[in-house]
């Protein structure tokens, strides 16, 4: 089964790097949707079926924490696997995000950190090279 993925980050470089890593780690990719801010991210979720989301915190329009809160409070998306990818260093904020069931990946990240997050989020239903 292929995975439809949302990448929400205002940095085009970060989005491009995550796309490349996803291509390397051995998952079967379906549609890849990119959003440059939090509001766009929710619009993508509204219009498309997404299986896994990468969300930055510091984005214009709506930050990543608000995006995660919106995801978790909507019954349609509440169980969506989410990786928050951010430079965020505030432990309280990170703890709040973790309590909402996301995986946290610190920027700058290695390809292996993205692979680990994907592996933990989608479990063993996909064959990853881990």
């Amino acid at each position: 089964m292929s995975l439809n993925i949302l990448i929400a980050d205002d940095s085009i470089i970060t989005r491009a790097v995550i796309v490349k890593i996803l291509g390397l780690i051995g998952i079967e990719l379906g549609e890849i949707h990119q959003a440059t801010d939090g509001r766009q991210a929710l619009e993508v979720l509204d219009r498309h079926c997404v299986d896994l989301a990468f969300v930055d915190i510091n984005m214009p329009a709506m930050n990543g924490e608000e995006v995660v809160e919106a995801i978790r409070s909507n019954p349609l998306w509440a169980d969506l696997p989410v990786a928050v990818v951010s430079t965020e260093g505030n432990e309280e904020r990170i703890a709040r995000l973790l309590s909402m069931g996301v995986k946290f990946v610190h920027k700058p990240f290695t390809p292996e950190a993205i692979r680990k997050a994907v592996s933990e989020l989608i479990g063993t239903t996909h064959e990853l090279r881990v």
Partner: protein, 140 residues
């Protein structure tokens, strides 16, 4: 296979579990641009020529790139290197990550940095990789 006394040098073990093909590289310096004539004689001295040489040989021998298990160790700042400001260990590691990215490969395990030397082992029959540092073995 074994490579001894990895200080700032990088040890890189590559293994294909299906074919049982494996290789172990001991690269000393980050780039062949430091000494191009030496790189022609022994490309494996340098990370930016040694890693591609190892990968190309593995693939030519029948390994498959999406099965490759890649493990790295070394890149330490040993006592003499801490005061020379060349940061060879760090530069070796940065070059290694760059080469992996160019090849589209990910690391399966690493034990990088610190101040202690390491010896690295690759058991070809099983693909098992382990290190020895200051008399202590540990799996990688």
């Amino acid at each position: 296979m074994v490579t001894h006394a990895l200080g700032s040098c990088l040890g890189i073990a590559v293994y294909d579990p299906v074919t049982g093909l494996g290789g172990l590289l001991h690269a000393m310096l980050p780039t062949a641009a430091i000494n191009p004539s030496q790189a022609k004689i022994n490309p494996c001295m340098f990370v930016d020529t040694g890693v591609p040489a190892l990968l190309h040989k593995m693939l030519a021998a029948g390994a498959t790139r999406n099965r490759l298990s890649i493990r790295a160790a070394g890149g330490a700042a040993t006592q003499t290197e801490r005061i020379d400001h060349f940061a060879i260990g760090k530069r070796n590691y940065i070059m290694f990550r760059k080469i992996l990215w160019q090849f589209g490969l990910l690391l399966d395990a690493e034990d990088i940095g610190g101040e202690l030397p390491r010896t690295m082992y690759l058991e070809i029959g099983t693909g098992k990789v382990w290190l020895n540092s200051m008399g202590l073995d540990k799996p990688l």
